[in-house]
Subunit: 404 residues, 2 copies
Amino acid sequence: MKTAEAKTIKSGGVTSAQGFQAAGVASGIKSRGEKDLAVVLSDVPAEVAATFTTNLVKAAPVKVSMRHSRNGKIRGVVINSGCANACTGVRGIADAKEMIERAAREFKTKPREWLVCSTGRIGNRLPMAKVRKGIEKAAQKLGADNGAEAAKAIMTTDTRRKEFAMRFKVDGRKVTIGGMAKGAGMIHPNMATMLCVITTDACIDKPTLRACVQEAVEHSFNRISVDGDTSTNDTVIVIANGLSGSNLLKSYHPQFGLFKKTLTHVMRKLARMIVEDGEGITRVVDVVVKGAASAQDARLAALAVAKSELVKTSWAGGDPNWGRILAALGYSGARIREEMVEIFYDGLVAVVNGQPSKTPVAKLRKLVRKPIFTITIHLHSGLGEYSVLTTDLTEEYVQINAGE
Amino acid sequence: MKTAEAKTIKSGGVTSAQGFQAAGVASGIKSRGEKDLAVVLSDVPAEVAATFTTNLVKAAPVKVSMRHSRNGKIRGVVINSGCANACTGVRGIADAKEMIERAAREFKTKPREWLVCSTGRIGNRLPMAKVRKGIEKAAQKLGADNGAEAAKAIMTTDTRRKEFAMRFKVDGRKVTIGGMAKGAGMIHPNMATMLCVITTDACIDKPTLRACVQEAVEHSFNRISVDGDTSTNDTVIVIANGLSGSNLLKSYHPQFGLFKKTLTHVMRKLARMIVEDGEGITRVVDVVVKGAASAQDARLAALAVAKSELVKTSWAGGDPNWGRILAALGYSGARIREEMVEIFYDGLVAVVNGQPSKTPVAKLRKLVRKPIFTITIHLHSGLGEYSVLTTDLTEEYVQINAGE
């Protein structure tokens, strides 16, 4: 997906848009001296739209940020890794609020103008003494070139930082959308265990921004799956400070479509980076369902395949085991007729009319050993379509998650 | 669960009841000369009740057996392992029917009086020349002491055969219920990848037997999960030939409750054996949910925990990671209030009011390293209860299923 008029910014990230600064520091929450505290600050009050985990068990920072993102403008986001501040009760809420108050004091703003995120292990309280010092340190290190530092500080089991930014023109002014994300396990729609902060200097009002963010999330972060577990801390925050100086991007603005498309593209890029960095994975697989009886049937079918342990382990073994895919379709809840199903591995047809095609297994096997491929499933029952980006399931995934 | 008046038969199985014979032979479907074809025969026409996979993709033998079990009495079941005969189209149906015709001819009965089961890899046709010879061979080996041979012949990735039988008295006559099962992976409710054949000499009519089987399956095979994948071939068959000579076991018979209880107990035993033989597992965990807003909420909650890759890998690592359990409850779809949740590991309380208890982590860790334990989750939201027997998820599971 290439947005025609928007260009990728090399090494772009959360500070690529005008008027945004960031910092990433080591506060000592993580034991090995790695960076674990990030701040993103807008020079001026900015509109914000955010989506949060659908998990009924929500971490304290999620509860606080949900309230603060609802109304009014914000100035910044403070994020820690190494501790999720989830299942920590009222004391957890107090800790999340204190993070915001400390940040507000350091940056001479109001607590109401801050959001807070945490990521890491569930059930432990934040080491607040360290967090306080971390925020002080972040205030000193703040800068417009520190996007990469911030992206590093929000990592948990991630093996690399995830940043992306694009730029396009609106009313002759440069508009930038850039962001950072983290996530590698506990990844599943609505939403994945992931955090994402995107900043833009676009001029846009809150309701319009909110609609754009919802749609973009639906087409990006809500369509990836690593292990089928929805976390307690998932958060996507988009901050728009309007410093590009263009006219307001309402739905009737000629460049509104371009803004939406670019925002979606930035989110899709970051979502893909999360999947590609999935814990222990060796394959990234696009599961595309076409011809379902409805969009909901397509979604059920795609998710069942993308989540099946047996399908995912067969990919890890480089085994084109389409029988397991058919079995997953059969229990997905989607309306399927076995004798209509076609399954393709990239361009190669593996199943026709619910039965093996004449494609030699050796050819399919070669394809499934590629690091990236697409499974296209045609149900020939209607017009419903859906796709999910998923991974294989390896022994290494188990190793990573069996450790404490 | 001990049934007061029914006694376990040592080394009992599918031929423990009067008037049942079996055979288990090597027909060459499996390449290494292992047993792969079983026959169970009743000396007289018998009532039958069966439940089959809910997967929309049903293997050919399932389609054939569904028809044959609906009406009329049956004489026997012919089963092969090593090939599932699933996703094989009309030719697969023809092969399943031929298995039945061959068995009927060998045993001088009608094809209509036979059921057929297959288990193994999906998408390959049966090697019929071998199957035919196997059925001939089974006819020669048939005997009333061959339950164990048959139980061996239906194994796939199972590491041990699964048999169990019990005996009790009805109207002064001995009544026996005994059976065999197979299954180790692709195990999930409604139903697991499993086959089970149970025989009894009880006198019972078809509608009553059917009702008993449905209830017993709901409390046994539908409450186990190894990997969350529902297979295309799952089948539970119960055959009652009436040779015990007691009065008819209708619902008003004083011993009717005992029959139902014992049938459920036999199924639960066999279901537990399947879980304990789960592919690569090192822990068997009873997930018990209490106090849910409804029975359906309890079911959703228990299944989400029993299926979570993150919860199951943490058990493999001997890590009492109750945070992941809380997260799974949160996305389960069950109505939960975080601040009401209690979680116990056997007798030890780990979570109170949605927050860590004072139980030292070292104690919990020791408990989670046991091969068998119970997680009890109290939601304090109502009276709904449900339990699922599940396992951990290990590197070995991935190894087994990544191979071809």
